[in-house]
């Protein structure tokens, strides 16, 4: 269905090709998952399928990309609209119409689909993606998850045989992501649609994939094949795969179900231990602390007449990492913007370091609380990484090089002359985070920091957030990424409809939640293990105490 024949692509002005000598064939009806580190060229590969690369990006493409028998050399993206549907990373940026139904119909109007067929397909897609309740809603009033589903629907109505999706679930809460993925598998299984999808949150998609394409980046050749084969020793892998590796199973499991069926022995071995017994593990209870860095009391906020927060009370203490979870639109971002003083409370109080953040001058505000917004690029103004770091030092009055040092701890070796807009999503986040951290605010807030981050980037982020907490910062991250919550959070706060519905030690809050539990917890429930690291530590401890018992899958 899709064929890449010796495809090389170089962005204009780039010294190295983003893709080199790519040979790839994706067959009819396959769900093919593209994985790889941040900045390795996944998006480039995806956008080349319908010719957006090079027609919209500039640059030189060698070789041929053929899709549904047509080459992108001879056919502009618009002439391929009936064969390929491409959904970009930011769904809202691509909307044309102003209500859901019209957006879904737009592509069919362009293709000249007969009115009755058009009507039927819109209804089908509304049902398929669960959008019928919002069919007349203005697109601007939809949540991120709904917008993503509309964007998928807006290409699906054309009945394309190939669907290309770039990070379709990374902005979604776990439940919404499940819905999107369920719809995708339905398309693959019932309609035989070929799906090419890039996703950093492997754990969400890999169980549905027929094939995994690993884009290692740096001009190295692509690796592709069966998911289990490719992931067995790929640098990126979902937690179940890592659990399989840590437990020494001969075949790596791809889904929670696979892993759980093979994990009986593991559960039994781990039963006598508690996560607290593992050296270096985080304590189950929040660390005893001096006092609150920030205090929120009975906070109410609304947008126009729509309530966003309804009486939220929270204390944020030094040295703890707090995960703020909840559906899209449950008020997480709103709470963060209040903590940093972008909004004044309609009712209630917000205090950071004893002062009200919205009354502070910007210069003082960054010293009490720093926020990395969902789109980290907003924080970046300069045209080189070096310029950005120098400005970061200046803004915060630091010794030259401090921001750069913070940056290198997150993403080592970022080219000083690179333009921030040319960086990958993850590199940009690291740069923005470095800029915010440079001022050393006691309260560090991150809004969806792991969107677009690969596993290595997440691991570095987690380590860095732990260091920050160790150094006495209070860290709050609003996130949908339960795996990162499991790795990093001491405490979890769940918001729903603007109210706090759960607030407690992360382990207690997430372990038994069907939505927020990380994969390891689902595999090992009812044992309270959250991460592969904890399990590996516990296994090492057991091995040190007595010789490893011989069980079915052990090496």
């Amino acid at each position: 269905m899709i064929r890449f024949d010796r495809v090389s692509f170089t962005y204009p002005g780039a010294s190295r090709p983003a893709l080199s000598e790519v040979d790839l064939e994706v067959g009819e009806g396959e769900l093919c998952l593209v994985v790889g580190p941040t900045g390795s060229g996944k998006s480039t590969l995806l956008r080349a399928v319908n010719g957006l690369v090079p027609r919209f990006s500039g640059g030189t493409l060698l070789g041929t990309v053929t899709v549904g028998g047509r080459t992108t050399e001879d056919h502009a993206p618009r002439e391929l609209a009936d064969v390929v549907g491409v959904v970009g990373q930011d769904p809202a940026a691509g909307f044309v119409a102003d209500v859901v139904e019209d957006e879904l119909a737009h592509v069919m109007e362009n293709l000249g689909v007969a009115p009755d067929a058009m009507r039927r397909r819109v209804e089908d897609v509304l049902d398929l993606l669960g959008l019928h309740e919002v069919r007349r809603r203005p697109l601007a009033s939809l949540s991120g998850g709904q917008q993503q589903r509309v964007a998928i629907g807006a290409v699906l109505t054309a009945g394309p045989r190939v669907l290309v999706l770039d990070e379709p679930t990374s902005a979604l809460d776990p439940a919404a992501a499940e819905e999107v993925l369920a719809a995708l598998t339905r398309l693959v299984h019932d309609l035989g649609t070929t799906v090419l999808v890039a996703e950093h949150r492997l754990e969400r998609v890999v169980q549905y994939a027929d094939r995994v394409v690993l884009v290692p980046g740096g001009g190295a050749p692509l690796v592709h094949g069966e998911p289990a084969t490719v992931l067995a020793d790929a640098p990126v892998a979902p937690p179940v795969v890592e659990l399989g590796r840590a437990a020494g199973w001969s075949t790596v499991p791809l889904s929670v179900r696979d892993a759980r069926r093979g994990a009986g022995d593991l559960r039994a071995r781990l039963a006598p231990l508690r996560p607290d017994d593992v050296p270096g593990a985080r304590r189950a209870a929040p660390p005893p602390t001096s006092g609150a860095v920030a205090r929120v009391e009975g906070l109410h906020a609304s947008y126009g007449t729509v309530p966003a927060l309804a009486g939220v009370s929270l204390d944020l203490r030094a040295g703890e990492v707090v995960a703020l979870m909840g559906r899209n639109g449950s008020g997480k971002s709103t709470l963060l913007t209040h903590l940093v003083g972008l909004r004044a409370p309609t009712r209630g109080r917000v205090e950071v370091g004893g002062r009200r953040p919205h009354e502070l001058a910007p210069r003082d505000a960054v010293r009490s609380a720093g926020l990395v917004p969902q789109d980290p690029g907003l924080l970046l103004y300069h045209d080189t990484v070096a310029g950005e770091c120098a400005a970061g030092d200046r803004d915060a009055g630091l010794a030259p090089g401090a921001t750069r040092a913070a940056l290198d701890r997150l993403v080592p070796g970022l080219h000083a002359a690179a333009h921030p807009r040319d960086l990958s999503e993850g590199q940009r986040l690291a740069l923005a985070l470095a800029v915010v951290l440079a001022a050393e605010p006691p309260l560090v807030l991150l809004d969806e920091p792991t969107r677009g981050l690969d596993h290595a980037g997440k691991r570095r982020l987690v380590a860095h957030l732990r260091d920050l907490a160790g150094a006495g910062h209070a860290v709050v991250l609003a996130t949908h990424d339960v795996e990162v919550v499991a790795e990093v959070a001491d405490r979890a706060v769940v918001l729903a409809e603007g109210e706090v519905v759960a607030d407690g030690p992360a382990r207690e809050v997430v372990v038994h939640s069907p939505v927020f539990a990380p994969q390891v917890a689902k595999v090992l429930a009812p044992e309270p293990w959250l991460t592969v690291g904890e399990v590996a530590g516990a296994l090492a401890l057991l091995d040190a105490e007595r010789p490893a018992p011989v069980d079915g899958g052990a090496r």
């Binding site: 970009g88 737009h106 362009n110 009033s141 991120g144 807006a154 054309a158 940093v340 960054v366 924080l379």
Partner: protein
């Protein structure tokens, strides 16, 4: 009009635009403040009764604010620079003597009541036109008008709507950039903030534009389809020519000082060209329409009420009613009855149009756009 409750639906956009056009004609033909105020009241009443709860429904309020600015500017200019009308002096501004080569321009001097009132009438007229356009935008979104356009104009229309959506997008980007400046500890108010924001705002807007273009192209916008390119160009050319001719003709019909050949003949020629273009476009028809808006009784009522307003003012003008009340000598304007009745008829849509369906039912759940 019936008292039977009708199911809520959105009216055909062309009906709203016809209604708006009627009111605009009234506003353009008169400077009578009573008549203009009546137009404003009618437009406001209809908007209040029939707008939806969509985000664009707020554009009437926005256009009113713009109208106030227009009136203020329109009054300030003649007060500062205008010709000095004789009459009752309100106050005297210090005047500047300009060199001979600038004769005809005066700065300062006595400000008369006649001068201010005349400027007020002119400003009010322009403000009312803007308010009526804002009212129509509140009642139906620009995209809906685009969808009702003939095929030949569709692509140009999409370009226009996208351009229209650019300004609000820039506003959103600007707000985010301002917030981000605060997050970096830089001033978020004052000239320094503005200077520092221009580039990121433009970059952000440009990136969105490119993303939108890529998305539209991926979804088949601008496909060649099966029609011969020559035919397509002919249809587009005819449409444009037709619109221009019809525009000139319509203006000519309204303005008696235009030469006769630019009146009815131009209007007819324009209409003929448009009809030909539509026929051509219909024949090649490689685009289709999703759920085209029906044109039913309500649409007729709304469009005709707008027409009634326009006819009222034209009839009043022909019958010698004073549509442009004298300011020198200043007199209290009389209300031209025929024109006022016509404008009053334009309030009919407040009942004749079906209610707009609820677009954003409470609770509107998601607002994760803040940061």
């Amino acid at each position: 009009m019936t008292a039977r409750p009708r199911p809520p639906r959105l009216l055909h956009p062309a009906a709203w635009w016809a209604w708006g056009a009627g009111l605009v004609v009234v506003a353009l033909r008169t400077t009578n403040p009573f008549l203009l105020a009546l137009v404003l009241a009618v437009a406001g009443f209809v908007v209040a009764s029939r707008r939806s709860d969509a985000p664009w429904a707020g554009s009437f309020a926005g256009s009113l604010k713009l109208g106030v600015v227009i009136v203020l500017v329109r009054v300030a200019f003649p007060v500062l620079f205008g010709n000095r009308l004789p009459g009752t002096t309100l106050f005297t501004l210090p005047s500047v003597t300009l060199p001979d080569w600038a004769a005809g321009v005066s700065i300062g001097g006595p400000v008369t009541l006649e001068l201010v009132v005349g400027a007020l009438y002119q400003g009010l007229r322009l403000a009312v036109v803007v308010a009526v356009v804002g009212a129509v935008n509140s009642l139906c979104s620009p995209y809906r008008l685009l969808r009702a356009l003939p095929d030949a104009l569709y692509e140009a229309g999409v370009a226009v709507t996208v351009a229209l959506s650019f300004a609000p997008q820039v506003a959103v980007v600007a707000r985010r950039v301002r917030e981000a400046r605060r997050l970096r500890g830089r001033p978020d108010r004052g000239p320094a903030a503005w200077r520092g924001s221009v580039l990121p705002v433009l970059e952000g807007a440009l990136e969105r534009a490119i993303a939108l273009a890529a998305s539209m192209d991926s979804r088949g916008y601008g496909r060649h389809g099966t029609a011969a390119p020559g035919l397509r160009r002919l249809a587009a050319g005819l449409t444009l020519a037709g619109l221009v001719l019809a525009g000139i003709g319509a203006y000519g019909v309204l303005d008696p000082s235009v030469p006769a050949v630019l009146r009815a003949p131009a209007l007819l020629a324009g209409a003929a060209a448009l009809a030909a273009a539509l026929a051509l476009a219909g024949r090649r028809s490689d685009r289709t329409r999703y759920r085209p808006d029906p044109w039913a009784g309500s649409e007729w009522a709304v469009a005709l009420s707008g027409l009634a307003a326009a006819v009222g003012v034209v009839v009043a003008g022909r019958a010698g009613a004073v549509l442009d009340p004298s300011v020198n000598p200043l007199e209290v304007p009389s209300v031209p009855v025929a024109a006022a009745l016509g404008v009053l008829l334009a309030v009919v849509p407040a009942w004749a149009a079906p209610e707009a369906p609820a677009l954003a039912p409470r609770p509107a759940p998601e607002l994760d756009v803040a940061a």
